[in-house]
């Protein structure tokens, strides 16, 4: 063991790491270094192998996966170790002690039946040998460090008593308890609201500075990368395709995939213009292209790309790219200029008022006692009013729990509103019973957030789309109509006989949209339709929604927390906070000159990063 500390030595060196599941390689020859006090961000879409890389480093791979080759060298101040050669017992000392880990979902990474204090004390006991009062004192300090107010009281509370943001802070406190020199953060803010995201990222940054920790940050969010990373590694289909310092990466992304990722962001496109998308999807494990994995989706691909695996080419400023375009031996210079998407700025004419919501209230009763008597109410929606014109888009913006989804469901009468009025095309919806509601059901439909939960896995796509048509008595030419709808949303007509599980997330969302369109609605309530999707797929769906609005004159009530999508898609914006609309107006006004304090916070959190990157 070498005890000397070389300031230029990397804290973590991963070389040629390859993980195998069956014949597929979810992680293929991944190499990178993390210096002490530095953040290395692994960026990529879902299924590209970023989390698997982290798990391989921690040696926590699922049983089906095995480490095929590569080395992981961890060199803390105490001396270098090769993590892959340690025994399981030695490895346990490294996990939590040398390397801390933070997970995506704070709600499920804390044990619900143990108090926060005990969970932190467990780590302290394991790695520092602290117990009793000493452990409690240290846990208290840790909670203070991560900015949890009233730390003394929180120590004795259970996870359910903490909000999502506090839970993630408690998770970070736990990760810090072992005094790690390297922190692995796997999508640490994905499950949090924008305002909380900013706070948690700031906290991580500050802690890193104070302790000189190295950090491996795993994320799909370019904004998070820009805010946090010193170095960026872009992963695609199990391979690193670009490694660059942050400035170089954001100034001039080199790999065609990186460039496409930037172009697909709604905040980079002007409203009315089509978003740039990446056609196709990430290849599945068992069908990875042999040469360049991105070649089938690359607009700049040429013959060599599909026959020869590209080598690393180092550019100026330490930017390394795995792409034939940057091969110095190639005669033609790399095509760096981005082909800009066709500009098709369209005037969206406002028509008559299609939807009129007045003073809508939804109160959920709190029942207690043996006889389930109602003792109080929770005002999920507390007096919301707005108008939506035909052919236009109203974005309902807010954080989770502010009641925006409840508004959407109450408008469609999926939840009985407590009070208020909802008029669709002049007809009152509230108080109508099942049969009287039926004709109005055809006029307003919903597209849901989770493309995996919104399609019945036991039904074929054709049946799913036809269900609404049958329920509403549209029984003519059902087969032709299904084919037409599938083509309208960019799928093939013969896909009607398949089951939902055969489709990717984006394709499922297309099916869900086709299902809503089947009954010729005038209004579609879109409940976070893109939040479960990757950036490139999100762009496809937003384009589709945009096109459909042009063709069919649909109105959208767009429920979202993603300000960038709002900026791109919405004509009007209503900001919701704790069951009330606090600010409403045209998109330009609200986003450009927010008046309410909450809107300002929301926008500040969402846009600080991207405006800088543009």
């Amino acid at each position: 063991m070498v005890a000397s500390v070389d300031p230029h030595a990397a804290l973590l060196t991963v070389a040629g790491l390859t993980v195998q599941i069956g014949a597929g390689r979810p992680v293929d020859e991944v190499s990178f270094k993390i210096m002490p006090g530095e953040t290395f961000a692994l960026l990529g879409e879902s299924g590209c192998g970023k989390s698997m890389t982290a798990l391989a480093v921690m040696r926590l791979l699922p049983p089906a996966a095995r480490l095929a080759s590569g080395s992981v060298s961890y060199a803390p101040s105490a001396g270098a170790q090769s993590l892959l050669d340690l025994t399981e017992a030695e490895m346990r000392r490294v996990r939590g002690g040398g390397i801390g880990m933070i997970f995506q979902e704070p709600a499920t990474s804390l044990n619900p039946v143990m108090t926060i204090g005990r969970q932190i004390a467990e780590v302290l006991d394991l790695h520092l040998g602290l117990s009793g009062d000493a452990a409690r004192k240290r846990a208290h300090e840790l909670l203070d460090t991560v900015g949890i107010p009233e730390a003394a009281r929180r120590l004795d509370e259970y996870p359910f008593q903490l909000s999502g943001g506090l839970k993630q802070r408690a998770m970070i406190a736990m990760a810090l308890a072992g005094e790690p020199e390297l922190l692995i953060a796997d999508e640490p803010t994905t499950a949090l609201d924008v305002t909380l995201q900013a706070q948690v990222l700031d906290l991580l940054k500050q802690l890193q500075r104070e302790r000189g920790m190295g950090m491996l940050l795993i994320t799909h969010d370019l904004g998070v990368v820009e805010r946090m990373a010193d170095h960026v590694g872009v992963m695609y289909a199990g391979q690193l395709v670009e490694v660059a310092p942050r400035e170089q990466f954001f100034g001039n992304p080199a790999h065609p995939y990186s460039r496409k990722l930037f172009a697909a962001l709604p905040e980079r496109a002007a409203a009315g213009q089509r978003l740039s998308t990446i056609p196709g999807m990430v290849p599945p494990l068992d069908a990875q292209p042999a040469a360049c994995r991105f070649a089938p989706r690359c607009s700049l691909a040429f013959a060599e790309c599909s026959t020869l695996a590209p080598a690393w080419h180092v550019q100026a400023g330490g930017q390394a790219v795995r792409c034939h375009l940057f091969d110095p031996l190639r005669s033609s210079a790399p095509v760096v200029a981005e082909v800009s998407p066709p500009v098709a700025a369209v005037e969206r004419a406002g028509g008559d008022t299609l939807l009129q919501v007045r003073d809508l209230k939804v109160h959920f009763p709190i029942r207690k006692g043996l006889l389930q008597r109602t003792v109080a109410h929770v005002a999920a929606v507390d007096g919301v009013s707005f108008d939506l014109q035909a052919g236009r888009t109203l974005a309902l913006v807010g954080e989770s729990g502010c009641g925006k989804t409840t508004v959407g469901k109450a408008i469609l009468q999926l939840i009985q509103p407590t009070a208020g009025s909802v008029k669709l095309a002049g007809k009152e919806l509230t108080g109508l019973s099942g049969n009287a509601l039926q004709p109005l059901r055809a006029q307003a439909q919903m597209v849901f957030q989770d493309p995996f939960g919104s399609l019945n896995p036991r039904m074929r796509v054709g049946t799913i789309i036809a269900e609404g048509m049958y329920a509403l008595g549209l029984r003519e030419n059902v087969r032709e109509r299904i084919a037409e709808l599938l083509e309208q949303v960019g799928l093939r007509a013969d896909m009607a006989t398949r089951y939902p599980h055969e489709f990717s997330g984006g394709q499922r969302q297309r099916i869900a949209i086709a299902r809503a369109l089947a009954v010729n609605p005038k209004l579609i309530v879109c409940d976070e339709p893109t939040s479960a999707l990757d950036v490139s797929v999100q762009a496809q769906i937003i384009n589709l929604l945009h096109d459909l609005q042009q063709q069919l004159g649909l109105s959208y009530l767009f429920i979202t927390h993603n300000m960038a999508v709002v900026d791109y898609l919405a004509d009007e914006v209503a900001v919701m906070y704790q069951g009330r609309i606090v600010e409403m107006g045209s998109a330009d006004t609200v986003l450009g000159h927010p008046q309410h304090e909450y809107t300002q916070t929301l926008l500040a959190a969402a846009f600080t990063r991207m405006r800088g990157a543009a």
Partner: protein
């Protein structure tokens, strides 16, 4: 000969007819046909189906009941025997009629217990009345068994070979996707075992005899029908209540949920055996007070078997119901259910189209798991004296008798082992087959 149709026979035929109709219907629907094709491609599925169909065949043979015509006296009208026999009894007439005095071990030539010799010269193991009587010297038994066994094995082997050739020449080219090799292995194993049994059966009690000298092999074969009936009919009488109440409770919630929950909590808190005992005894009283309903003892035993199935079904739906309620609670929050609500699809249609197919895997698993439990429950109930009619041959009554036999010194092990082996194979085959069916019908599990 006069055919007799017992109620349980009718049920059994009805079940089979439903299955055949299902197969016919599945052939016409390309989607169902594809799913069943998937079952046909699964090797374990095909092998399990082959074994199961042997059991079903035995049960089917055992379900053609008739009364024998008695020798007619001149001038008298036609008379029929009181005993109701089945086609299986006719096939196994030798085994049925050749009863020994008491216990004898498998393939034995002598009784299991010593008896006073006829000449009064001490005690000895007497020769059996039927087992191995063709042998002059009991010492030749091993060679004889070996010889006959080998002949049987050879016979089975020849049949297997013939089947092999037929499949290879005829069937495999026509349906190459089917797991023919698995079928051949399973049928081959059954043919070889069956060949040996058939070769030995005319001369020996292959699995020994029980306390009253009945052939154990005959008893086990007769038990198959009872086991299948109890397993399937009980499940059938339980399913409607469990499915309907479970899904309605989970989907509707509110007071409907409360009422259903109270009902099954109350039912659950009464000890099951007590409830079944009370119902069975009531049923017994009804049967005993109306002897005119039943013309033969077999019909009375049959009525008791059916009522046992129904009563066990009525008292055992709560477990599945609770599982289904919990699953439905989860499913109803999923967005595809809400999407259907947004289209104004009626609650019943949502429950039938969206909830029911998504809980079928639970139903399938718990039904198959319950199957073995029910056969065992029958044994327990027979032990308390409230099971099937004492004249009905079942695994339960066999196991129940084994209680005393195992306590004997030396131990009588063969009837328990025979019942155990047959039950084990039956339940295992049912499990494997259900697994294969579930995999084939789960669209998520199918290769894209």
């Amino acid at each position: 000969m006069k055919p007799v149709l017992l109620w349980s026979d009718a049920m059994f035929f009805l079940l089979l007819a439903f299955c055949l109709a299902g197969i016919w219907w599945a052939r016409r629907s390309p989607q169902l046909a594809a799913a069943w094709r998937q079952v046909g491609m699964s090797r374990t599925g095909v092998a399990a189906a082959a074994v199961l169909s042997f059991f079903v065949l035995v049960a089917l043979l055992d379900s053609f009941h008739y009364r024998e015509r008695l020798p007619q006296q001149p001038g008298e009208s036609v008379q029929y025997g009181v005993e109701v026999l089945s086609a299986l009894d006719a096939l196994l007439a030798q085994q049925k009629t050749r009863t020994e005095k008491t216990y004898s071990a498998p393939l034995a030539t002598h009784l299991f217990a010593k008896e006073s010799r006829a000449d009064g010269q001490g005690r000895d193991f007497p020769r059996l009345k039927f087992g191995g009587i063709h042998l002059d010297d009991a010492g030749e038994r091993d060679a004889d068994v070996l010889q006959r066994g080998l002949i049987g094995l050879a016979g089975g082997g020849v049949l297997w070979l013939a089947l092999f050739v037929v499949v290879r020449q005829w069937f495999r080219p026509r349906a190459s996707w089917f797991a023919w090799d698995a079928l051949l292995w399973a049928v081959g194993a059954m043919l070889l075992i069956g060949g040996v049994l058939l070769a030995l059966m005319p001369h020996y009690h292959v699995l020994g005899t029980d306390k009253v000298g009945q052939d154990v092999l005959y008893l086990t074969l007769k038990s198959i029908r009872t086991a299948l009936l109890i397993g399937t009919l009980t499940t059938l009488s339980m399913l409607p209540a469990a499915l309907l109440l479970g899904i309605v409770a989970g989907y509707k919630g509110g007071w409907i949920d409360d009422v259903i929950q109270y009902i099954y909590t109350v039912l659950n808190s009464i000890p099951g055996v007590l409830l079944i005992a009370a119902s069975i005894l009531m049923m017994q009283v009804v049967i005993d007070t109306h002897p005119e309903w039943f013309s033969t003892a077999a019909e009375r035993a049959d009525a008791r078997l059916l009522s046992l199935c129904v009563i066990m079904g009525v008292t055992s739906w709560t477990g599945l119901c609770r599982l289904l309620r919990a699953e439905t609670l989860k499913l109803r929050e999923l967005e595809f259910v809400q999407a259907a609500q947004a289209f104004g699809v009626s609650s019943w249609a949502i429950m039938a189209r969206h909830i029911l197919p998504n809980v079928m895997h639970i139903v399938m698993i718990s039904v198959v798991m319950d199957f073995s439990g029910l056969v065992l429950a029958e044994a327990v109930l027979s032990y308390v004296g409230i099971g099937v009619d004492p004249t009905t041959i079942s695994f339960g009554t066999m196991i129940n008798m084994a209680r005393m036999e195992l306590a004997r010194e030396p131990m009588v092990w063969w009837s328990l082992i025979a019942a155990f082996c047959f039950m084990f194979v039956l339940v295992l085959a049912a499990n494997l087959f259900a697994d294969a069916v579930r995999d084939a019908f789960d669209p998520r599990g199918r290769a894209a």
